[in-house]
Structure formats: structure tokens, C-alpha cells
Symmetry: C2
Subunit: 334 residues, 2 copies
């Protein structure tokens, strides 16, 4: 399989090195460029891609990982909260899968330590894919081409949920988005951003946004209370880390989301209630920083945020191996 991550930004850096102008590369910034993954197990990732797109991991035979983390749409579903089995409304906005490998933990409340731990959750969640791990494995074991491919990849006669989540996580590790205009700028191409975008970045830093939104993913590296300065008004009952730890201090503490590709991953916040970037910037200023941005400042920050859209992973749609006569039937309507 091919993972194409054009290395234009590295090429730029090397050119600058050879010209002796490397001092222009931004080395003291709170945000670092996204790097293409280097240690991918290609066999696992290719199998994982099939599983990621395979709706037979759901009870209905209709919902796949890609249904809510749609790789045509910034790795999200672009709706307030996701649609699950029987059209149930999910409890929270689906976070993007893009660059998720850079998060300190998975889910808004960080209840899964990594991508592998996350991947098993939705399959067995009665409000999401509504299957269970026993049934999902039974389905996969009944499909001859999967049996062959699991054996090739894991060198085992068994198919286990551990292998399934390992493969899905390996595929997800490939879903990074280097090459954004902002990363080109970070790596020394000072023409990559215009004055408005640069002003937005300076404001983003000087206002304190980078206290939380920092690192390669511009987020994902810590937990923070939503409503630090002023409470965030929401009908969503999720309490963030409190739901994991039970500690009173963890109420309304959520993982800081990545801002990479934020132009693509609307609507915003854990409740998906914020529809536009402009509204998101104003609300964050108000509740997290106690700041009111004027219209010009707001537009500058929004312009900067749009430079964080990276090269989207080029995915060749997998052709799924057909079910066998004895494959458990999907149950969409009962």
C-alpha cells in the first residue's frame, strides 16, 4: 500500500539550510509541524483500512468507523452529535480521527488511553454500532478472505478483537495531515501566510490560546476545564474527566481538541453547538480567556485557523471481501 505524504515542507527546509537561511525557520514557536508517520506496519494498516470501512462490524451492517469519522469530511460527520444504530442520537460531537494519534488519550474525556483502546468502544456501544466483540469476531471469522488476511498479517490462526483494534489503530496512525500552509510557514517559507493570517497567529499567541492549543496537533496534549473564566452554557450532560475519575475537580474538564483541519471539522465544542469558526473564537475568548475580540481580531484568528488545514490522507476505497453463506446476517430492523 502507498501512503503519500508529499514532503514539500521538508524540501523547503533543506533548500533553506543549503542557502544558509535556516534561522528563518520558526524554532521557538508553541506549535510544531505535523510529521508523516514513519513506523507504520503496512500489512496491519491495509487490513485496518478494510475494517475501518466495514459496516459488518455493526449490528445493522450499515455503520462503519467511517460513518462518523468520515475521511471525506475531515475525519468527522459534521453534525452536532452522531447518528447511531436505529438513528439514536449520540451523546457528544464526534472528534476527528485526523492526527488523533497525537492525542494524549482518546475520546473527549480521555477514557481510552490510545487509538487501539478506543477502536473497540463504538463497535460494542449499543448507541453506536450496537454489535459486540463476540459477534464482530464471528462475522470476520466467517469471511474467507479476512481469515487469509488476518493470518498473513498476524501469523495466527485466530482472529481476535485485539488484532482487530490493533489493525484499525495502525491504519488510524497513517491519518495525519502534514503540509498545511501554517506548517510551511513554520518550516521557513515566510510567504506561506499573508498578513491577516500572521496577525491572527500573533493574536492567537498573545491572547493565551497557545496555553492549551499547542504542540504539533495544536491541542490534544492536555485536559482543560471548559468555562475557565465563565461557565459554558450547554444542554449536553457530559461532564468530561469527572465521568472517568469521579473527582469533583474534573467536572467539565475535557481533552483540549486539536485545531488541525478545524475548517473541516465543524460544528465545534464537545456538544457540537457552535456552528462557525467565528463563533467558536468569540466563545473561547469569552469563557476561557475573559477576552472580547473585535470583528477584525476575530477575522484574523479565523484566517489563521484556516491555515491549519493540511494535506488530507489520500485513501483508495477498500474493496471489502464478500460475506460467506454462513456469515451472521446483519440485523438492521430487529
Amino acid at each position: 500500500m502507498h501512503f503519500k505524504f508529499p514532503n514539500k515542507h521538508s524540501a523547503v527546509l533543506i533548500s533553506l539550510l543549503s542557502l544558509g537561511v535556516v534561522s528563518q525557520a520558526a524554532t521557538n514557536e508553541p506549535i510544531q509541524p505535523i510529521k508523516a508517520p514513519t513506523d507504520i506496519n503496512a500489512g496491519q494498516a491495509e487490513l485496518g483500512k478494510k475494517l475501518y470501512f466495514d459496516p459488518r462490524l455493526s449490528k445493522s451492517g450499515y455503520i462503519s468507523c467511517n460513518s462518523c469519522h468520515n475521511l471525506s469530511m475531515g475525519g468527522t460527520d459534521n453534525i452536532t452529535s452522531s447518528i447511531g444504530d436505529q438513528w439514536q442520537q449520540g451523546p457528544i460531537n464526534a472528534p476527528t480521527v485526523l492526527n488523533a494519534s497525537l492525542n494524549l488519550a482518546q475520546f473527549w474525556d480521555g477514557r481510552a488511553e490510545d487509538l487501539k483502546a478506543q477502536a473497540g468502544g463504538p463497535i460494542a456501544n449499543p448507541k453506536e454500532m450496537a454489535s459486540n466483540h463476540t459477534l464482530a469476531i464471528e462475522v470476520l471469522k466467517s469471511i474467507p478472505q479476512y481469515v487469509v488476511e488476518f493470518k498473513q498479517v498476524f501469523n495466527s490462526d485466530q482472529i481476535t478483537i485485539d488484532q482487530v483494534t490493533t489493525a484499525i489503530a495502525e491504519f488510524e496512525k497513517t491519518l495525519v495531515t502534514p503540509g498545511s500552509r501554517f506548517d510551511q510557514w513554520l518550516e521557513g517559507d515566510k510567504t506561506a501566510l499573508n498578513d491577516t493570517e500572521l496577525a491572527g497567529y500573533e493574536l492567537f499567541k498573545s491572547s493565551g490560546c497557545t496555553a492549551c492549543h499547542n504542540g504539533p496537533a495544536v491541542g490534544g496534549s492536555m485536559y482543560q476545564k471548559v468555562g475557565l473564566i465563565k461557565p459554558y452554557q450547554t444542554n449536553n450532560p457530559a461532564l468530561g474527566r469527572f465521568d472517568v475519575t469521579g473527582n469533583e475537580a474534573d467536572k467539565n474538564v475535557f481533552k483540549v481538541p486539536t485545531l488541525r483541519n478545524i475548517e473541516l471539522t465543524y460544528p465545534y465544542f464537545h456538544d457540537g453547538a457552535i456552528k462557525t469558526l467565528s463563533e467558536a473564537v468569540n466563545t473561547m475568548g469569552e469563557i476561557q480567556l475573559g477576552k472580547t475580540f473585535n470583528a477584525t481580531e476575530n477575522a484574523q484568528i479565523v484566517a489563521f485557523l484556516k491555515t491549519l488545514t493540511g494535506e488530507q490522507p489520500q485513501i483508495t476505497l477498500p474493496i471489502l471481501p464478500p460475506s460467506n453463506d454462513n456469515t451472521p446476517q446483519p440485523q438492521p430492523f430487529n
Copy 2:
């Protein structure tokens, strides 16, 4: 854009020609090889691919053409009848989009004369995507990158439903599946089928299956009554052509479905009630031909049918242009 249809079968034919053994090529068969499409408007097809994968054409923002005609799964959803807006159960089994350009008309009852006429239906069907053409166009007009791309492709400042369905149909014309083992055999490679498969093909012809399942699509070229010899028992209320024409003689008359890629397009029949190829062969023998196939004959025909799986279209997942602040919001839950 690239449409890759490896021309292995043509290469084989040319080799045979040069060896003077072209007389082995099957010229008097009732089934002809699938040809790659030649007159594709690449711009329209690339735009059409985006639209095909864009769930914003649905009211919920969740359902796209690919939801029910999934190009990972033989161009179908592999469930009895499709899931529509609010998880409504569709009235009939979703036919494959693969090679659909070869059908004499579209839908099981042929109520749409071509792919373009078909494409507008599900968008506005309250049981399917549940949008309407006015809203769908309003959504597309609000998305800057679509405005640019429609202008490039159609050289017009307007976006119309006619353009939308033209583009989707153009993309669908690319979804053909040449290169099956059966086509290799038809084109002269006598090693492409084994004895069981060949026996199955001979039986398929001698039993009368090719009276309806013929031509390049092995179907799709005529209407026929289901239950010609013996009534087909079903709970599905669809009456086929009768629902279009009102003629009593058209009751239970449906378009003969293509058998191309039939291994991938389960479950079978217009009601999706037949789960396996083996059951489909026995039922068709019984109700259409008045024949009972024994176990060996059934296995032979099934083996032949599995040689009709062609090269599946290689689709690079489109990256959809993001919505704008003024794009009408999807309404998944109200």
C-alpha cells in the same frame, strides 16, 4: 482524474491473435465482455464523484449515494432493504450501481429512463435522503469550492439539479467492472475457467437462464415476470412495472437484474429475501424455469456465477469542500 481499467483481457486477446488462435475467442455466446467506458467527461465525473459521496445532499447530512450503493461492497448495501432518513426501512433491495449504465432503465421497475433520471430520485425521497432539490441546490450554492467547480465543469454561473444529476450520472458511467475471469474466458483465455465453472456455464445456458440474463451485463436488458412458472412468495408489496404502467399484465414484472459481481451484491431478488447464491439459483430454477437443480448442478452454476466478479472500480475517496458559515444546517434529529 484517472480511471484505471487494467487491460489484461485485451492483452490476452492480442497475444492470441498473434498466435493465430483467435478462433478460440467466444463470439457466439449470449454474454459479451464488459467494456471500459470510452467517452467519459472527466470533469463532470470528478465532480459527480464528490456529489456521490456528499451526505449534504440529504436532510440529515448523513446519507449519501454511497450509503446504499457502497462502492466498497459491490455498489450495494448488502442488507435486505436500505436504511433511509430516521432509519426508515426502504421498500425494496438496493440494486447495484456497478454496470448500471448498461441497464435499459433504472430502478427495479424501470421508472427512470437513465442514470441521470435516477440520480434525482433518492435525494428528494422522504424515505431515503429526505431532502428536496431546492434545498440541495441551496446547500451546494453556499459552498465556495462547489461554486468554482460547477462553473469550471458546466461553464455557467448557476448550479442546477440538472447539472447535479448529469455529474452524478457521468461518475456512475465509470463504474463498470471489466476483466472478470468469465470475460477473460470469453476473450479467448480458455484456462480462465475450471471444469466446474464451465459446466455451470453450460448448464446456465442449456437451462434457459440466458433467455433473460444475457448481454454484457448478464441482465439489465429486459423486463420479466418474477414467478413465470410458479408464483414467487414474498411479503414485499412492490408490483414492478405495474406500479409504472398500471397495466394488469405488468404485475410482478421487474427489470431483470445484472448478474455481474453477483457474489458481492447479496442479498438477492427485489425483496432481498434470498440470502445465498445457492438459494437464488434453486429458487430461480423453480419459479422461472420449472427446473429442480440437484446439488452438483447448483454448485456448478454458483461456481460459474462467481466468475462474473470483475475488477472493481478503484476510487480515491474524494475530499469534500467544507460548508460555509451560511450553508443550511443538516437536520438529523428534527
